[in-house]
């Protein structure tokens, strides 16, 4: 083999092209992560996402078994299929993580989010807000003469749609919990 001549003053400052050859279609996955409820465990999971450059679209966490000290973290993330697999493998090897489940590929799952909307207004706008809330089955959980706080649950799309409708008629503040999800059917 003749020795290669390397171009002097090459513009490439990195030794390697690291672009992988995997599919680059972005997918959205909902992961359920069962963890020991110990100090710092959420930081470990989140730190992994930020440290390795993964996306978090939504994240919820709460203790689900007080006796067993376990919490359930629900993460909605996006990435190529290879990145999603990496995320699952990387999260799975964190020591206090018991189980990582990909609800998007395991079959049908129910996903719900809860949101609180504060809507200001009087007169027709106020009546319209109530009418829309009824259609979306949102409850009024606080009321003054010129405002409502609505509580709504549903999947992400429903809450987005409700927010879009409420914005022109006085939506001033909103709080969303992020997605909680469970697989459908009898099996765990």
């Amino acid at each position: 083999m003749p020795p290669l001549k390397l171009k002097k003053g090459s513009t490439s400052h990195s030794a390697y092209n690291l672009r992988p050859t995997f599919s680059d279609v972005q997918e959205r996955h909902t992961l359920a992560v069962l963890v020991d409820n110990e100090a710092g465990v959420l930081a470990r999971v989140i730190g992994l996402f930020s440290g390795r450059g993964y996306n978090i679209e939504s994240l919820t966490v709460a203790e689900v078994d007080h006796e067993g000290h376990t919490s359930r973290i629900t993460v909605v993330t996006t990435g190529t299929p290879q990145v999603i697999e990496q995320i699952k493998a990387q999260v799975g090897r964190i020591v206090p993580v018991h189980d990582v489940r990909d609800l998007t590929v395991e079959g049908k799952a129910v996903e719900r989010e809860l949101a609180l909307f504060k809507v200001q207004g009087t007169g027709d706008k106020r009546i319209e807000a109530l009418r829309l809330a009824e259609i979306f089955r949102a409850n009024v959980v606080d009321s003054t003469l010129d405002s409502f706080v609505f509580e709504i649950t549903g999947d992400v799309g429903k809450i987005d749609a409700f927010a879009e409708l409420m914005r022109p008629i006085g939506l001033v503040e909103m709080a969303r919990t992020g997605v909680a999800a469970l697989s459908r059917g009898a099996t765990v």
Partner: protein, 589 residues
């Protein structure tokens, strides 16, 4: 974690020492400070565990790494809070990247002062969370013995790695019951060791039919233990497949073995990289397709089926898609694969395999590592070759720093057994080798331990000469002194238009006088004719030596896979090109 209920009452500090003894620890590398004084007081009052006082906490962690890598046991470092812990971060990250089992115990300000910006307070578990496999802040003495035993379990199980236990000072003073290792239930953390039999069968079937197979092995073989190396050798010998290894895996298969191709990757041998490029079956055993190995990914081993044996699921399909992924411990998987392959008649595709072995031999005959030692200046390759020739038959351990010398050591030294080669692979930590060699010498007091170094890397932890002299650790510091940051210089030459920005040292110490100032022996050698005698003098000296080997300043490390190229497009050492580079380089420097 097991909470103590009962057990022998003792203070947290006593628990630390007791737990280390119960885990079989005989050496600890550390540095005292306010937040670990109770533990140091306990260390003072016993003789079973030897404590080695380093000069900087980073060195304590590298020493623990050297100890761990040369023994297969968990290495232990003890540091104080705040700066003690932050100084340990580089060592922890190094151990994480190279999967080295170590335990760092750090002191912390008392629990009631945590969060108050107390003197020497740092959020140690926060800082070290991304650079440990796992870490713990122990807030109750009753939890301490359970956590310590679990820390050992996590460090050495599955893919090994560094762990850290942060112990506030009041927890060290308080008393509670101690639980021995046998009484502690070590969490749910139990990585799977057995490979999937279906995948192993696919591997064996592929081995039987392969026309151009190659084994590509890594640090996972070493970490899996001596049995993994033995099984690997048996498999290689009985199949006749050629074998290459990453920097981390050197020694798992003996360099004198018939099938050995040398190291692969960026500075790997011609035969290893050509075999990787041309193979039709690539069997990855405990390696992780690092970017120094693969080169350009879309041109990496383009015509091969890829088998990947790894204990860490996140390594599989991370970079290179595996056709046959086998999740499991190397020794377990190799044992099953070997047994199955034998049971099916030890078949190989003999005809094509013979032709492949011939082709591999032709690549070997290129002799890509050949060099000419001529003139009055020592070539670094020559220095390493002579060191190899004069020490290879001895009970020898080699450490390195990071840079050109590291690659030359990997290329020109032969490793016949696992756990004999300690180098910072993943993180590439300059300043690793000297403290690591210290840890190796502590673990193997009767053996010859050499740190092959570059002068720039070596200076990063040179303070440890004091430790070596204090504990009479007769490590040989073999410094290839080119008065340059050699690898940086090489890259500037090849990639940055020969603009040598900040890559040479203008005020280097006189290494011989430096050795003498520390109370060690210094030897300088600059004439090729004197080299053998000087090396022999170094080896014969019963004590630490700094060997200042003045070498050619502008030597480049070849072969090299250049920017954005594939394995079959290596840049080879070439007299004409060398001359051109040296002439222009000399003008600029």
């Amino acid at each position: 974690m097991t909470k103590n209920i009962g057990g022998r009452q003792m203070t947290g500090a006593q628990m630390v020492v007791k737990a280390l003894k119960d885990q079989g620890v005989d050496a600890v590398f550390g540095y005292p400070g306010g937040a670990v004084l109770p533990i140091y007081d306990e260390i003072f009052q016993q003789n079973e565990i030897r404590h080695f006082l380093v000069r900087h906490e980073q060195a304590a962690v590298h020493a623990a790494e050297g100890y761990a890598r040369s023994t297969g046991k968990v290495g232990v470092a003890l540091v104080t809070s705040g700066p003690g812990a932050t100084n340990a971060v580089t060592g922890l990250t190094d151990a994480l990247m190279d999967s080295i089992p170590i335990l760092v115990i750090s002191g912390q300000v008392p629990t009631f002062m945590i969060g108050s910006d107390a003197f020497q307070e740092a959020d140690t578990v926060g800082i070290t969370r991304p650079c440990t496999k796992h870490n713990w802040l122990v807030k109750d003495t009753a939890d301490l013995s359970g956590v310590l035993h679990e820390a050992f379990h996590v460090a050495r199980s599955g893919r090994p790695g560094p762990v850290l236990v942060d112990i506030p000072k009041d927890v060290q003073f308080a008393s509670a019951g101690y639980l021995p290792p046998t009484k502690v239930s070590t969490s749910h953390y139990r990585p799977r060791l057995q490979g999937d039999p279906v995948e192993i069968e696919r591997l064996v079937a592929l081995m039987e039919g392969a026309e151009r197979p190659v084994f590509y092995t890594g640090g996972g073989v070493i970490n899996s233990g001596p049995e993994a190396s033995r099984l690997l050798c048996e498999l290689v010998e009985s199949t006749g497949f050629p074998i290459t290894s990453t920097l981390m895996g050197l020694g798992a298969y003996p360099a004198s073995g018939d099938r050995w191709l040398g190291m692969l990757g960026m500075h790997g041998t011609y035969e290893a990289n050509m075999a990787m490029h041309g193979c039709d079956l690539l069997i990855n055993v405990g390696a992780r397709f690092d970017d120094r190995i693969t080169g350009r990914i879309d041109a990496f081993s383009p015509n091969s089926r890829k088998v990947h044996i790894d204990i860490d699921p996140s390594s599989i399909n991370k970079v290179i898609k595996a056709d046959v992924p086998i999740l499991g411990d190397v020794a377990h998987v190799l044992e099953e694969a070997l047994a199955l392959w034998k049971a099916r008649g030890s078949r190989t595709n003999a005809g094509p395999l013979g032709a492949w072995q011939k082709r591999v031999q032709e690549w070997r005959d290129v002799r890509c590592l050949d060099f000419k030692q001529e003139g009055a200046i020592i070539k670094p390759q020559y220095a390493v070759s002579r060191l190899e020739a004069l020490t290879k038959d001895r009970d020898r351990y080699i450490c390195t720093e990071v840079g050109q010398h590291q690659m030359w050591a990997a290329q020109y030294m032969g490793f016949e057994a696992p756990n004999r080669w300690m180098t910072s692979g993943g993180l590439g930590t300059m300043g690793y080798g000297q403290p690591a060699s210290m840890g190796v010498q502590v673990a193997h007091p009767e053996s010859l331990v050499i740190n092959v170094a570059g002068e720039a890397s070596w200076l990063m932890n040179m303070q440890e000469m004091g430790t070596m002299v204090q504990y009479r650790l007769p490590v040989k510091q073999f410094i290839l002194n080119n008065e340059r940051l050699g690898m940086v210089r090489q890259w500037q030459e090849l990639l940055h238009g020969e603009r040598y920005s900040q890559s040479w040292s203008e005020a280097l110490p006189d290494f011989v006088k430096l050795a003498e100032a520390f109370g060690a022996k210094g030897i300088r050698c600059q004439d090729p004719a004197d080299l053998d005698d000087a090396i022999t003098e170094m080896l014969d000296h019963d004590g630490p030596v700094i060997f200042d080997c003045l070498v050619e300043k502008h030597e480049n490390c070849f072969p090299m896979i250049p920017s954005g190229k594939a394995h079959n497009e290596m840049l080879m050492a070439n007299a004409k090109m060398q001359g051109a580079i040296n002439a222009t380089g000399a003008v600029l420097v």
